[in-house]
């Protein structure tokens, strides 16, 4: 009798756990069903590779936004990855225990600050800074990349630190025993051994940057044209959706959902590669 009861509760908990599967399936299907008509009418190639987005004249090419997202993300990684990985190395291997007690909450707070606050900071501080030092209007690819570079730091630091900590202590001790100093032991044994986890950290940061919306909207200028340069405005896939969803109708509306679909597929691809590299980490099989 007890066994039957146990089975009942096991199944109830299973049903609860199934909710998140249902959620993912529904998000997928609503995006597919909503985005397909636009892809059919416009044509997949025309939609993905079209260089002009002009809803008023029925031109729906999202290549400018795809490139916008890619450029902004790549530039953000140039700022964010070295600083993030080095900070993770600092936290895992260099930080004195007392300092760590302050440092960890600082990184957690950086992760907790809302993107609209980052965006606001970018708007009132970074935009004028870029405008005064580099010229242009200040709302530019460079500004968005700088801001995103800061925003992805906590993501990269947290995952990379966990990866570094998962490397067996014997690696470090072995290097010391061979005569390497602390810095060398860390950089030439621990860091290479944690490679897989570090790549996972970068991919997660990349996903965060590709998906960021509100902060980018406030500093990137948002012109819907092919990216022109570091100091010119760009529009990303995410911002395209938020800016035009308010007044879009018919094909324009469907085209925006299709934009979200492309973004979603991007993110799923990134997630799969993240899972792949995370699997290669120590302590993860």
């Amino acid at each position: 009798m007890n066994l039957q009861k146990d089975k009942f509760f096991r199944n109830s908990f299973f049903c609860i756990a199934f909710v998140s599967v249902v959620a993912v399936v529904m998000i997928c299907s609503f995006l597919f069903v909503g985005g397909m008509p636009a892809l059919e009418k416009i044509g997949v190639m025309k939609f993905l590779l079209g260089t002009r987005w002009r809803p008023s004249s029925e031109l729906y090419g999202i290549l400018p936004m795809i490139l916008g997202s890619m450029y902004v993300t790549m530039c953000a990684l140039i700022f964010g990855v070295p600083i993030g990985i080095l900070t993770a190395i600092f936290m895992a291997r260099f930080c004195p225990r007392k300092l760590y007690r302050f440092f960890k909450p600082i990184v957690e707070l950086m992760a907790g600050i809302p993107s609209v606050i980052y965006g606001f900071f970018g708007l009132v501080v970074l935009v004028p800074l870029v405008r005064d030092n580099f010229g242009g209007t200040g709302s530019s690819l460079l500004t968005a990349a700088l801001l995103l570079g800061i925003m992805i730091l906590p993501t990269i630091v947290t995952v990379a630190e966990a990866a570094l900590r998962a490397v067996p202590e014997s690696y470090y001790e072995g290097a010391l025993a061979l005569g390497a100093d602390h810095v060398r032991s860390v950089f030439f044994t621990i860091v290479p051994a944690a490679k897989s986890g570090l790549v996972a950290a970068i991919i997660l940061g990349l996903g965060r940057a590709v998906g960021e919306t509100m902060a980018v909207i406030m500093v990137a200028g948002n012109q819907a044209r092919m990216p022109q340069g570091l100091l010119e405005g760009v529009r990303t896939m995410t911002t395209n959706i938020v800016i035009e969803m308010g007044y879009a109708t018919d094909l324009h509306y469907d085209a925006l959902i299709a934009t979200a679909l492309v973004l979603f597929l991007f993110i799923v691809l990134l997630n799969l590669s993240f899972a792949y590299f995370k699997g290669g980490m120590f302590g993860n099989g």
């Binding site: 993912v24 070295p82 100093d181």
Partner: protein, 281 residues
């Protein structure tokens, strides 16, 4: 940490690398301090009681209605997501068999949910809750949308908290004759409460700061809501609207101060709670 061999003579290259590591860490601290410092320094002078007036008018862009909307959405979203999230984590940790194909698929979907950008959640909320279920732009639609969004966060933190409870607790409970459910609910869950709360507090912070998922689900109406079916802007949406209109920058700064203070308090509370779990075990 393990610095006992520091005495060895360091080569120049090692020294440079060592300094770079400290510099990189400094950049983190510096960017956070400048962000919070700047917003507080610029915004605190503009904080006034009028900003907390009951009504929003074009002369006085009160943030009070937005604050009420935000709290309402937090309450509704949590009452939806917390039971589901905690239940899911209990299934993963206590019931699921390791290596089961289906369980690893469920694990993957949780990761997928965590990776979906908030703007995609917003669009899904618009298509499903607002249009398909005909909720319209409403606090309810917004709350449902963010409830799905915070689900992975609650699942992951609860999982960690449950895993931190020593196996011996469970074994002793079985030895005393308790069945599985009793063991989970009466022995394991209470021991994990601080960790679960830490995760829930973090998700409150996530909802408080959410913008992209709410603009097209809860809408941007700036008045006090009548019920859950009225549209209303959250605090973060309020800040976004003020900042992008550019007419009320002083009030925008003050709103940013309120949001920053809430974030700091929430993070502090979460860290404190998580610390309690560590000490408890």
């Amino acid at each position: 940490m393990v610095n006992c061999f520091k005495m060895q003579a360091a080569t120049t290259a090692s020294k440079v690398l060592g300094i770079t590591v400290w510099l990189a860490a400094g950049v983190n601290v510096l960017s956070l301090i400048s962000l919070i410092g700047y917003i507080l320094a610029q915004g605190i002078p503009y904080l006034s009681w009028e900003l907390f007036a009951l009504e929003y008018t074009t002369q006085n862009v009160s943030l009070f209605p937005a604050l009420v909307d935000t709290l309402l959405m937090v309450a509704v979203a949590l009452s939806l997501a917390a039971p589901i999230g905690i239940g899911t984590a209990i299934y993963f940790v206590e019931y699921a068999k390791k290596g089961n194909k289906f369980v690893s698929i469920m694990d993957m979907t949780t990761d997928t949910l965590a990776g979906i950008p908030s703007v995609v959640y917003g669009l899904f909320g618009l298509l499903f809750f607002v249009i398909y279920l005909q909720m319209g732009y409403s606090l309810l639609a917004g709350a449902c949308t963010v409830a799905i969004m915070i689900l992975p966060m609650i699942i992951r933190t609860t999982e960690e908290a449950l895993q931190a409870v020593p196996i011996s607790y469970r074994e002793e409970s079985y030895a005393l004759g308790a069945n599985k459910l009793r063991t989970v609910l009466v022995v394991v869950l209470p021991a994990a409460v601080p960790g679960i709360l830490a995760g829930i507090i973090l998700s409150i912070g996530r909802i408080m700061g959410e913008t992209a998922a709410l603009v097209y689900t809860a809408g941007t109406v700036a008045q006090l809501p009548e019920d859950l079916f009225s549209s209303g802007r959250s605090l973060a949406v309020h800040l976004y609207v003020l900042a992008s209109e550019g007419l009320f920058m002083e009030q925008a700064f003050a709103t940013a101060v309120v949001l920053v203070i809430i974030t700091v308090i929430i993070n502090g509370a979460s860290t404190w709670m998580a610390g309690k779990l560590m000490r408890g075990n």
